[in-house]
């Protein structure tokens, strides 16, 4: 799925009562892998919640072109529901009025199979989701988010519980999707150790605002 600009933030001021930062003007393109970096409490998650419509912007606009998916910390209800890994991945197919269909089409079953394969989950597809480790659950969530064609994927600490091998592998798969399917990924992360090589751009929250641009350029300015 190719769109012109998967995400545009125009003069966006976000926060709960007062703006956390100066207005943000941010434009993404297909095939970009953004790392969102900054100290704890600087407003990264608040920005995501505003972009995703969970919080109203204080001013400015968010324009999302195409379909999107979000991977955040797992909710309490989702973590304990009785569901096999394959059932959880299938939830990612729901959009629009798809939930009114009782069965998954063959095409959808293939998508589920392919997502399970990609994230090395085939061996555990019949296991109960609630019995998995945190890292395994996060891999399932990534498979869920990418099970259908999307243009924008937003990740909030989506690999924090994974072991280094699976974290690096997950970013490699996402990077592959960025290149082959022109997906745009925006990932909040405290550690860039596992995905440094895969990211193409950085949006950094600094003391007086934002720095954004190609990875090496921004990282050299921060250092």
């Amino acid at each position: 799925m190719t769109t012109t600009n998967p995400l545009i933030c125009k003069d966006l001021v976000f926060g709960y009562r007062t703006g956390l930062r100066p207005a943000l003007n941010w434009q993404t393109e297909p095939g970009q892998f953004w790392a969102i970096i900054g100290d704890n409490g600087c407003g990264k998650t608040t920005l995501f919640r505003t972009i995703l419509g969970q919080l109203s912007p204080l001013s400015g606009r968010v324009i999302i072109d195409g379909s999107r998916a979000y991977v955040a910390q797992l909710g309490e209800l989702a973590a304990t529901m009785p569901a096999r890994v394959t059932d959880v991945v299938a939830i990612g197919l729901e959009h629009g009025l798809s939930g009114l269909k009782p069965f998954y089409a063959l095409r959808n079953r293939r998508c589920i199979q392919s997502a399970l394969e990609k994230f090395d989950l085939l061996g555990m597809k019949k296991r109960q989701f609630s019995e998995l480790s945190q890292g395994e659950k996060q891999r399932v969530q990534l498979a869920q988010a990418t099970v259908r064609d999307i243009s924008l994927l937003m990740l909030d600490e989506a690999t924090s519980g994974m072991d280094p091998r699976h974290a690096a592998e997950s970013f490699r798969i996402l990077s592959e999707l960025v290149q082959t399917k022109s997906l745009c990924v925006a990932a909040i992360s405290h550690s860039m150790a596992f995905h440094h090589d895969y990211i193409t751009h950085v949006l950094a929250f600094t003391d007086d605002g934002f720095l954004m641009g190609p990875r090496d350029e921004i990282l050299s300015q921060i250092r």
Partner: protein, 298 residues
């Protein structure tokens, strides 16, 4: 055994009441998985009490306005009035419940208002006091034919909807944020879900009473908690609920027990049985893995 034979010999007489128990059990058992896993158990208890007040209010208003049992207006029919009353109260408090940090406290207040309100209104309608007692303890012996037919229609509609659109209810209940982001109509599905729960509770409370309704919304779902996924759990809870509703009625007849508490205890026995069976299965699996660790690992 003699009494059970007597029950089936007089099946014509008990048919609608016993089947009401089975149908109500199936309906509440299936919806119960969203109540139990969605952690809104207290909501179902509060709604059952609220619909008790609705029924008591309808009976009181009918007497106050001078209508006889035969010429009661449609809107003052206890089931219809209770359904509208319960949905109205749920609509009134739903916004507050979403925004308050302690919804349990608000639900506790609603539960107590319901229980106390039913007793208070009951004292004003002495000649219908038996009806009110039945509401509180759950002792449905006879069910009116019109209520029975309404229960069948409502059950087919609600179970049909939840069975057909189970993917939507699953996504909106357990993955609301992700689904909302993906453009899925989470709010619409949640509204339908809560309305269905309120309608089911209102209609079954009039027939069975608050106690068995509360029991059937929680216990069958608890008994099938080990199901591999929600869809299986939905159908299993429906079967267990149906069994509990019917068997509870028959056992109550055979042992001269009140129906509602018997249905609640039957449901509880199902939960205990299920826990015992899953405990035994767990133990067998543990023993197997100790005996043949390599085959389990592979």
């Amino acid at each position: 055994m003699e009494k059970i034979e007597l029950f089936f010999e007089n099946w014509e007489f008990f048919r609608e009441a016993a089947l009401s128990g089975a149908i109500s059990g199936a309906l509440l058992g299936a919806l119960g998985i969203y109540i139990l896993l969605g952690r809104i158990v207290f909501l179902s208890a509060a709604l059952a009490q609220t619909s008790s007040v609705g029924v008591a209010l309808a009976i009181w208003l009918t007497a106050l306005l001078g209508f006889s049992h035969e010429n009661t207006p449609f809107l003052l029919d206890p089931v219809i009035f209770s359904m509208i009353f319960t949905i109205g109260i749920l609509a009134l408090i739903s916004k507050g419940l979403r925004h308050t940090k302690s919804p349990d406290a608000a639900l506790a207040a609603l539960y107590l208002c319901g229980a106390a309100g039913t007793i208070l209104i009951g004292t004003q309608i002495i000649h219908e006091i038996q009806d009110i007692q039945q509401l509180l303890t759950g002792n449905a012996v006879l069910v009116e034919h019109s209520d029975f037919m309404l229960l069948i229609i409502i059950s087919i509609l609600i179970l049909g909807l939840f069975g057909y659109a189970h993917r939507g209810f699953e996504a909106s209940t357990f993955w609301p944020d992700n689904s909302r982001v993906a453009g899925f109509p989470v709010t619409a599905f949640n509204l339908i879900k809560y309305a269905a729960i309120a309608i089911a509770i209102a209609i079954t409370t009039r027939m069975m009473g608050a106690l068995p309704v509360f029991a059937l919304t929680c216990l069958p779902a608890m008994a099938v908690r080990k199901a591999p996924n929600l869809r299986t759990m939905f159908y299993l809870a429906m079967i267990v609920g149906s069994f509990v509703g019917f068997a509870g009625y028959v056992i109550a007849f055979a042992a001269d027990f009140p129906v509602g508490p018997t249905q609640a205890i039957t449901a509880l026995i199902c939960v205990l049985l299920s826990l015992t069976i899953s405990g035994i299965i767990g133990l067998i699996q543990k023993l197997r893995s100790k005996i043949r660790p390599e085959s389990i690992a592979s």
